[in-house]
């Protein structure tokens, strides 16, 4: 086996062929370090890496690199998320260097939700480069040791490069090609949007496997357990690019009072079982939004514990 690109735990787990299990943690809307430590604490030992979101839904939060460092202190491996909305290429490249220098080894490259969603809709956005070009930038800095302007990087940052893929957004036929494009640009791993429509995802993966994409990149399937019928309806109607089948909403409704959350978890567990067997799927990315304390239980019941140590 060739040398690691970053030597991150996530990279080692995936390269060793284990079924990866990653989590997610949103930084606080303030400097509430204790709350962040508490949330992160639930994930410890349950996941291979934790995504630290970057002003997600365009709401101001503690910076993702800073929260990533706090997770590092807690003994968790962060997957530092970066969006193109808030930084130009100068800030992007300098933050990449800073994050790597302080011990961050995974980075997820995203365009970012438009600021009109968030709590500062009057803001000016940047989008100097897009997520595809961000992937290219990190790879270029790492593998060529060069900045975007071709100048040499004095000690290149060795990061494991991640990207997102939404198999459900339109136009569906192009989605697998866009995934291919991200992989060609330099993505080492992919975390997909939350999956609810299993048939559609199966079709997406079939196409990805046909193109051999799973051999060039580790694809992690996104799972977010539904906590309530309200959440399912919100996801179905309000969240762009989300595909929540009516059958799932019906199933949650049918669970009866006080049992919807458990039904949501059951569905998530069934999904994880399916993903374990699905060709081309290298792991699961569990986004238990503000439900971090449930992660140990979900991981246990999903049979993914203990996490491998490579």
């Amino acid at each position: 086996m060739s040398e690691y690109k970053s030597g991150s735990n996530l990279e080692k787990v995936l390269r060793a062929g284990h079924f990866a299990f990653t989590g997610e943690c949103g930084p606080p809307q303030g400097a509430n370090v204790e709350h962040l430590r508490e949330k992160a604490g639930h994930l410890k030992g349950c996941v291979d890496a934790v995504n630290v979101t970057d002003n997600q839904t365009a709401v101001v939060r503690m910076s993702s690199w800073a929260a990533s460092l706090i997770l590092l202190e807690e003994g968790l491996e962060p997957n530092f998320q970066m969006v193109c909305r808030d930084r130009n290429r100068l800030a992007i490249q300098s933050d990449i260097l800073g994050a790597y220098s302080l011990g961050i080894r995974n980075m997820l490259c995203l365009s970012g939700d438009h600021q009109s969603f968030g709590n500062h809709p009057e803001a000016k956005n940047v989008f100097d480069i897009d997520s595809m070009q961000l992937i290219y930038t990190v790879k270029k800095m790492r593998d060529e040791g060069k900045f975007l302007n071709e100048q040499e990087v004095d000690v290149p940052p060795r990061l494991f490069v991640g990207a997102a893929s939404n198999p459900f957004a339109e136009p569906f036929d192009f989605r697998v090609y866009r995934l291919a494009k991200k992989i060609a640009a330099g993505a080492d791993f992919i975390q997909t949007q939350c999956i609810y429509n299993m048939d559609k995802f199966r079709e997406f993966m079939r196409r990805a496997v046909d193109m051999g994409l799973h051999e060039k990149c580790h694809i992690l399937a996104g799972v977010t357990p539904m906590k309530s019928v309200g959440m399912a309806l919100y996801m179905a109607k309000q969240v762009p690019g989300m595909d929540v089948p009516d059958s799932l909403i019906k199933r949650l409704r049918g669970a009866g009072k006080g049992k919807v959350a458990e039904e949501g978890i059951k569905f998530a567990l069934e999904q994880i079982e399916t993903f374990k067997e699905m060709e081309g799927v290298a792991g699961v990315h569990l986004m238990a939004i503000e439900w971090e304390h449930k992660v140990p239980e979900i991981a246990e019941r999903a049979g993914v514990l203990p996490r491998p140590s490579v």
Binding site: G112, H114, F117, F127, Q133, L148, A169, G241
Partner: protein, 222 residues
């Protein structure tokens, strides 16, 4: 054309309330075409200002004049004698107009009567939309004749993002996902291969990011 929208009349009244002799100046260029700053709109705004003055018990004299173009000193010169009778100008040209007038007549107070919106065109009568961001390096031929810089909310060159929703943009169901249109058109044209090609980071040096722009064509300069 440059598309503009009239400022609310209350705002125009408020910003000009210290003046009693106003000249409303229109432009026969873009703003006439988009029905916001031509001779007709000059007349309407002037009469609205007169009525408002009367209602507030103020004696306001409002003149009307429409220039061939406000973005050309040759035509702005035309105001020289007319302006002697006025204290202030309300220009209803795009943002270029009030600046050219203020530059030519530094002693005169100039107010903008419209909010300049974008460079675009008329989809149909009464509906305009943005088409160009003036980035200084046109790339529409790479994208099926569509500009993602002006028309994608995130100016993505390697779209569509994950927020594309049944042909609509994540910011609003009233906004088309331009990348949906680009992909559909390119695939119909059998240009998938081009679409999969990575578009490297763009140089914004020719755009406004490179600083205020000026163009000199030596062969035209006397």
């Amino acid at each position: 054309m440059i598309v503009a929208r009239q400022k609310p009349i209350e705002e125009i009244v408020e910003m000009t309330q210290a003046f009693h002799k106003l000249l409303v100046v229109g432009c026969k260029g873009c703003v006439t075409v988009c029905n916001v700053g031509g001779a007709k709109e000059v007349a309407i705004l002037a009469s609205a200002l007169r009525i408002s003055g009367k209602r507030n018990g103020r004696e306001v004299v409002v003149g009307e004049h429409t220039l061939e173009r406000q973005c050309d000193p040759e035509y702005v010169d035309e105001l020289k004698d007319i302006l002697e009778d006025y204290e202030a100008v309300v220009s209803i040209a795009c943002g270029v107009g009030p600046q050219f007038i203020a530059e030519r007549y530094p002693a005169v107070r100039v107010f903008p009567g419209v909010n300049t919106q974008f460079m675009g065109g008329a989809e149909e009568h009464g509906i305009w939309s943005e088409r160009c961001a003036g980035c200084g390096t046109c790339v529409v031929h790479y994208f099926g004749g569509v500009c993602p810089i002006a028309r994608c909310s995130k100016s993505l060159l390697n779209g569509p993002c994950g927020g594309s929703n049944n042909g609509k943009c994540e910011i609003s169901n009233d906004v088309d996902c331009i990348w949906d249109i680009i992909v559909t058109r390119m695939m119909e044209q059998g240009r998938l291969k081009e679409l999969i090609e990575f578009k490297p980071p763009k140089s914004w040096a020719t755009a406004r990011d490179g600083g205020p722009r000026r163009m000199i064509r030596e062969e035209l300069v006397e």
